[in-house]
């Protein structure tokens, strides 16, 4: 075997090793397109929230008292939940499609690991938000969702594309800024869940799916 031949072989070996380490430890069926769609849903939902039952966080923050929840708040929670469910279903659908196209299983050890690591900060945040809700600290709910969502992404990014880590960091920063500007929760939500998702979805799409 000549020198260059063996070099080629060993390089191929190294490529194989890297590829296998990556493939066996990271969930690669995450879809950029579903990120873009999730962002669009978020913007539409924010627009609906603004148009149909416009209110300012600040007004509610000041006026809320125990046992007297505004009808609008309930409606807003409903709208947010519906948006979340729609975004999750879209994500599942596109991941399933991508996994199928690459003849991989969508539900494997890597998917499980990523989801568990996403879920820990996300559930913590969810419970935290519910507690704030019950205590009437409505104004801090939007910032808290952004911060905990960002933390979840940073945590989960170790088990999928590393780009997700930067998305997570941006969400955290946005969440912290919005803590200061209480009353603009809807605007920061639109930026965090809408605009950032669209940007990152597009980046992922062109980087890995094109």
């Amino acid at each position: 075997m000549s020198n260059t031949d063996s070099n080629k072989n060993y390089s191929q070996d190294l490529f194989e090793i890297r590829n296998m380490m990556e493939k066996s430890s990271r969930f690669m069926a995450l879809s950029g397109l579903s990120g873009v769609l999730a962002g669009i849903y978020a913007i539409v939902a924010a627009y609906l929230a603004y148009k149909i039952f416009y209110f300012s966080d600040e007004i509610i923050y000041k006026s809320i008292s125990y046992g007297e929840l505004s009808d609008n708040v309930i409606k807003l929670v409903g709208l947010a939940t519906a948006t979340l469910v729609l975004a999750l279903l879209t994500g599942l659908f596109f991941s399933y499609r991508r996994a199928k196209a690459h003849q991989q299983k969508m539900w494997d050890a890597t998917a499980k690991r990523m989801l568990i690591n996403l879920a820990i900060p996300l559930f913590t945040g969810g419970i935290f938000v519910l507690i704030m809700f019950s205590k009437g600290a409505i104004g801090l709910i939007a910032p808290a969702t952004l911060i905990f969502y960002g933390l979840a992404l940073v945590n989960g990014s170790k088990y999928t594309y590393t780009d997700i880590r930067y998305l997570g960091i941006f969400e955290i920063v946005l969440g912290l800024i919005s803590c200061y500007f209480i009353g603009f929760g809807l605007l920061f939500w639109t930026l965090g869940f809408g605009v950032l998702h669209i940007i990152y979805g597009t980046v992922l799409y062109f980087k890995y799916e094109k």
Binding site: N3, D13, M21, S24, D108
Partner: protein, 100 residues
Amino acid sequence: MRSYLNNLHKAFENRIRLGVMSALAVNESVDFNTLRDLLGVTDGNLASHLKSLEKVKFIEVKKTFVGRKPNTSYVMTKAGKKAFEEHLDALEKLIKEQSR
């Protein structure tokens, strides 16, 4: 002959065995079906390569139950980890040397 070439292990000359070791290097344990899907090989082929890695004590079988179904998964032994790392180092040096 450079000394580090002794660290290139015969056991890793095959792509499938190399792949198995790579997957086990970054995961606590990997089960048989996952390995098969990752490498895109047949059951019989994978089994024989796993057996040969087992024989040199680079990997260990871990039998567990998922519900009532037996589940065979594999873990890297300490010796396997050491050998794999030496192999990687040797590969790295070799390629550096030749691309100079």
